[in-house]
């Protein structure tokens, strides 16, 4: 058993969050202090993750470095933590993304304390979610990760979306309560806590089995923008102007997706697994729907949201396939994908910010005056839609080939959705580069700073290296 390394992944960001909250208010240095605290916390976390990677056996597929902590006796709750390569990849990409986000965020952000404290809280709880090894701690981190989201959306969301927030929160709460009931039923059946890998071995009878598993899946679906409940999530996401909060909003479906990855392959009973086609149909309908809507939607954030949704659902569809060989491919692909959407969120926010600063009404042609931003946005959109020299391309290749192996129509729909959503991003890119709609006078000073440019190019290099060797950073 390792000692507290995994717990450290949860505690470091939480401690950072407390430091942030207790930072003294000083007109000159307060904001930079807060950002420095968060960057240091995230750097420490990333270093710890790399260290944990070095401790893991890369060939082993099961959980490693398991830690357990006693919480309460009545009812008996033990917290089990454990990692495998897949969860470590996800944690690394999330932490790395937030680190990049912190470096690139404008220091003149409003209510920086609330933002950074909530964000660090979210990261800590997310880390806990990805390393939870038993059902109860899985539930605890699953639900608690929604709390900082509510704080962030409430603080930075659009005024027009306040009623949507309540509906969105209650929708998530329904999922949480159903998950709680199912998990406690599992614990009662086993007379104790249940490890995630053992969840599928519990014998329930008839209707109870359906109720338990459907409740679990509904809980995860409540985090994913599945039709027809996608509207609230999409509505909130597209109204978030702050790029960090927008990133958090785009990572919430990852939580739902991860839940499916943990519970579906090898864990779900056979009686439930045969209903996989129903889930697949729902995924396809949602993908097509959102991809089609994004074509005519004018907001770039919505297009990015549609892009992230479609990809999440592609991964989700692959999870439902009757094969368990895709987990690592999904992990490698998600690793690149999360970094890409982080950078895209920030680039879009930079453009919006410049539009506001420079007093330009439309964004058409704005990239003509921002060569660095133009280059980065083009490269990352190309990377996002499948530039071959990224691990996203290669791993998606394997995933989609398995989908085609399973069903042709499913594969065609997946490709069509990816195409539509990529096309909408490309069209938006062209609109931004179209000189005919640009402002008449040349605008100076709106481009990316050198620091941001170097960070983005660095991320591109990381993506490129990941194609050569996905775990190139493991020593």
């Amino acid at each position: 058993m390792s000692s507290y390394q995994l717990l450290g992944l949860i505690l470091i960001p939480l401690i950072g969050s407390i430091f942030t909250l207790t930072a003294k208010y000083d007109k000159n240095y307060a904001v930079s202090n807060i950002f420095n605290v968060s960057i240091l916390s995230l750097l420490a976390n990333v270093s710890l993750i790399l260290y944990i990677f070095s401790q893991c056996n890369l060939e082993e597929s099961g959980l490693q470095l398991v830690e357990s902590f006693h919480w309460v006796d009545y009812p008996k709750v033990e917290i089990y933590l454990g990692v495998d390569i897949f969860s470590l990849l996800i944690i690394l990409s999330v932490n790395l993304s937030f680190l990049v986000a912190e470096i690139c965020l404008y220091r003149k952000t409003e209510r920086a304390k609330t933002l950074i404290a909530s964000e660090l809280l979210f990261i800590g709880l997310c880390n806990g979610y990805f390393i939870a090894a038993d059902v109860l701690s899985f539930y605890i981190f699953f639900v608690s990760s929604g709390t900082p989201l509510i704080i962030l959306i409430s603080t930075y969301g659009s005024q027009r979306k306040k009623t949507v927030l309540i509906r969105f929160s209650i929708y998530n709460l329904i999922g949480a309560l159903l998950l709680l009931v199912s998990i406690i039923m599992m614990c009662e059946a086993q007379k104790g806590d249940v490890l995630l890998s053992e969840a599928g071995k519990i014998n329930f009878k008839g209707g109870t089995e359906y109720f338990v598993w459907l409740s679990i899946f509904f809980a995860f679906i409540s985090r994913l923008p599945i039709w027809p409940f996608h509207y609230w999530i999409s509505s909130i996401n597209s109204s978030l102007k702050n790029p960090l909060v927008f990133l958090v909003g785009n990572l919430i479906p990852l939580i739902g997706l991860y839940g499916f990855i943990r519970f579906w392959p090898n864990t779900v009973p056979e009686t439930i697994a045969i209903h996989a086609p129903i889930f697949e149909i729902i995924c396809i309908i949602t993908m097509l729907f959102i991809a089609l809507v994004s074509l005519s939607h004018k907001d770039m954030r919505y297009k990015l949201f549609a892009y992230t949704t479609v990809y999440y659902l592609v991964y989700l569809t692959s999870i439902f396939l009757p094969t368990d060989v895709l987990k690592l491919n999904i992990g490698y692909s998600l690793y690149s994908y999360i970094i890409i959407i982080t950078i895209l969120s920030f680039l879009i926010s930079h453009i919006e910010h410049q539009k506001k600063e420079l007093g330009i009404y439309g964004t058409g042609g704005i990239l003509c005056y921002m060569p660095r931003a133009s280059k980065c946005l083009s490269l990352f959109i190309l990377a996002g839609i499948g530039l071959p020299v990224t691990s996203l391309f290669w791993n998606n290749f394997i995933i989609i080939s398995e989908i085609f192996n399973y069903n042709l129509i499913l594969g065609i729909m997946v490709i069509l959705s990816i195409f539509l959503v990529s096309l909408s991003l490309l069209e938006e890119l062209y609109k931004l580069k179209d000189k005919s709609s640009a402002a008449t006078e040349c605008i100076m000073g709106g481009d990316l700073s050198t620091k941001h440019y170097i960070v983005y190019i660095g991320c591109l290099i990381i993506l490129f290296l990941s194609f050569f060797k996905p775990l190139w950073f493991v020593y």
């Binding site: 909250l21 006693h70 919480w71 309460v72 006796d73 009545y74 009812p75 709750v77 209510r111 304390k113 609330t114 539930y139 605890i140 981190f141 639900v143 608690s144 929604g146 709390t147 509510i150 704080i151 409430s154 603080t155 969301g157 005024q159 306040k162 927030l165 309540i166 929160s169 209650i170 709460l173 329904i174 949480a176 309560l177 709680l180 009931v181 406690i184 039923m185 614990c187 009662e188």
Partner: protein, 474 residues
């Protein structure tokens, strides 16, 4: 022997001394509320000290019994009272009142609570209940409005009926027992005459007053008024301290007296619990006054507690107690926030007055958020522990419908909490808030720290609570 017995009255005597001290201060024309509050706090500490020191002893073993169960509830009440007195001083100072009447009544109420919880005889029970009702009536009458409220008169009218019901039941039992109305004797009486309707009615006449005082539907008549139409310190008392006391006594009655009728009562408790859950959730959504919203919220949560008590099992009763305990802690956090909601010297109580609170008072809003999310049961806050217990026990007992209703109405109740969150975060600032009192900030921070510490390491505290609670089953 008499001297020993007198020592055992010191907890109550301390409070009585406090009352006398108040009178003296009033006669000496002290006008600062802080003076009265300091005095009250001193005597409460003294009372708590003697309570601990004389644990297990009683000055009148025929009528009262002080075990660790009563100590538990007395401690909770005492600590909450201490916090309440500290904060109420700031309120009275702002309103430019002495608050002497309030502190006197509070100390009197604490005496009544001690007597109520430690009663093992129906005579003392009835007496302490009547005393408390009277004190509550006087408390409700504390008002600085030009037009006095109808709440006290309504309260006394309904309470009178309830007391009559209680008295009728008591008289019947007393007649049957020839004045021997200790709990053990009465329990024997109930067990041996289960088929007697009159006896059954007498038994329920003992329960109805407590259901009424706690605010369980359909006896919730004056629950809303107690917190909604009174001044903040009084509302604080009725929201926190009074329910703890009545619950302590109610649980004791159920365990020590009513086990003979558990099958009958179980069904009724379930119905009342579900009614409370429904009324509580709908009421919270219907109101715009923060105190009223929380009173209906309490109705919901108390309904859940009653649901757990309906199984008449000591282990599940302890789960109910845990749920109650964590709820009270969270509710205390909410009320601490109310003491800082002040604009131009006026204390605010409507939801709309929270508009833009997050812009100027991010920590206060955070504390409110912690409490509200704890009510919903979001992990890792302490409310989750309570919710875990509830779901766990109901599943074990296969009460699926009850569980479904509770969870469904939790969603509806959550909507009212989220409205508060939405107003605090989304709306733009409407009022300018006065600067926060340092004492309020201190207690708020301590409350949040307490919630967080208990959330992360509840085991130690729960062990102690369990040992103290389980005494009642012996």
């Amino acid at each position: 022997m008499i001297l020993h017995n007198m020592i055992y009255t010191l907890p109550e005597v301390s409070l009585l001394a406090g009352i006398i001290h108040m009178f003296l201060l009033y006669i000496m024309a002290y006008e600062s509320a802080k003076v009265y509050s300091r005095a009250a706090k001193f005597w409460i500490i003294m009372s708590l000290f003697w309570e601990v020191a004389t644990q297990g002893k009683s000055f009148s073993p025929l009528y009262f019994d002080n075990d660790s169960y009563t100590l538990l509830f007395n401690l909770i009440v005492g600590v909450l009272s201490y916090i309440m007195i500290s904060l109420s001083a700031t309120w009275f100072v702002t309103e430019n009142k002495t608050g002497c009447k309030y502190y006197v009544l509070l100390l009197s109420a604490l005496i009544g609570i001690k007597l109520l919880i430690s009663s093992i005889n129906l005579v003392s029970l009835l007496f302490s209940y009547i005393l408390l009702i009277y004190i509550h009536y006087r408390m409700l009458g504390i008002s600085y409005e030009k037009i006095p409220s109808e709440a006290p008169s309504r309260y006394v009218g309904i309470s009178g009926i309830i007391i009559i019901i209680f008295a009728l039941g008591f008289l019947y039992i007393n007649k049957l027992q020839d004045g021997n109305v200790e709990y053990t004797e009465v329990k024997e009486l109930f067990s041996s005459n289960r088929k007697s309707l009159e006896l059954y009615l007498s038994a329920i006449s003992l329960l109805i007053p407590f259901l009424y005082s706690i605010g369980i539907a359909p006896f919730h008549i004056t629950a809303e008024d107690k917190t909604g139409k009174s001044i903040l310190p009084v509302s604080h008392y009725f929201a926190l301290i009074a329910p703890v006391a009545f619950w302590g006594c109610f649980i004791k009655l159920n365990i020590e007296l009513m086990t003979a009728y558990k099958e009958e009562l179980s069904e009724v408790y379930k119905i009342f619990a579900l009614l409370s859950v429904v009324f509580g959730a709908m009421g919270a959504n219907a109101r715009i006054n923060l105190h009223r919203i929380l009173s209906y919220s309490s109705m919901y949560h108390f309904g859940v507690v009653l649901m757990l008590l309906s199984f008449f099992s000591i282990a599940i009763d302890f789960s109910a107690f845990i749920y109650l305990f964590v709820y009270i802690l969270s509710l205390n956090g909410c009320y601490l926030v109310f003491y800082s909601l002040r604009s131009h010297g006026e204390y605010l109580s409507s939801v709309a007055s929270l508009s833009g609170l997050a812009e100027t008072r991010s920590y206060t809003t955070g504390a409110l958020l912690v409490s509200l999310f704890s009510f919903i049961g979001l992990p890792p806050l302490i409310g989750f522990l309570g919710q875990l217990n509830v779901v766990s026990e109901l599943l074990k007992q296969e009460s699926y419908i009850s569980l479904g209703v509770i969870l469904f109405f939790l969603l509806i109740l959550s909507k009212s909490y989220l409205e508060i969150v939405k107003t605090a975060y989304f709306e733009h600032k409407v009022k300018t808030y006065d600067s926060e009192n340092k004492l309020v900030i201190l207690y708020t921070v301590l409350s949040v720290i307490c919630i967080v510490i208990i959330a992360f390491n509840p085991q130690g505290l729960f062990e102690i609570l369990k040992d103290m609670f389980y005494v009642i089953s012996i």
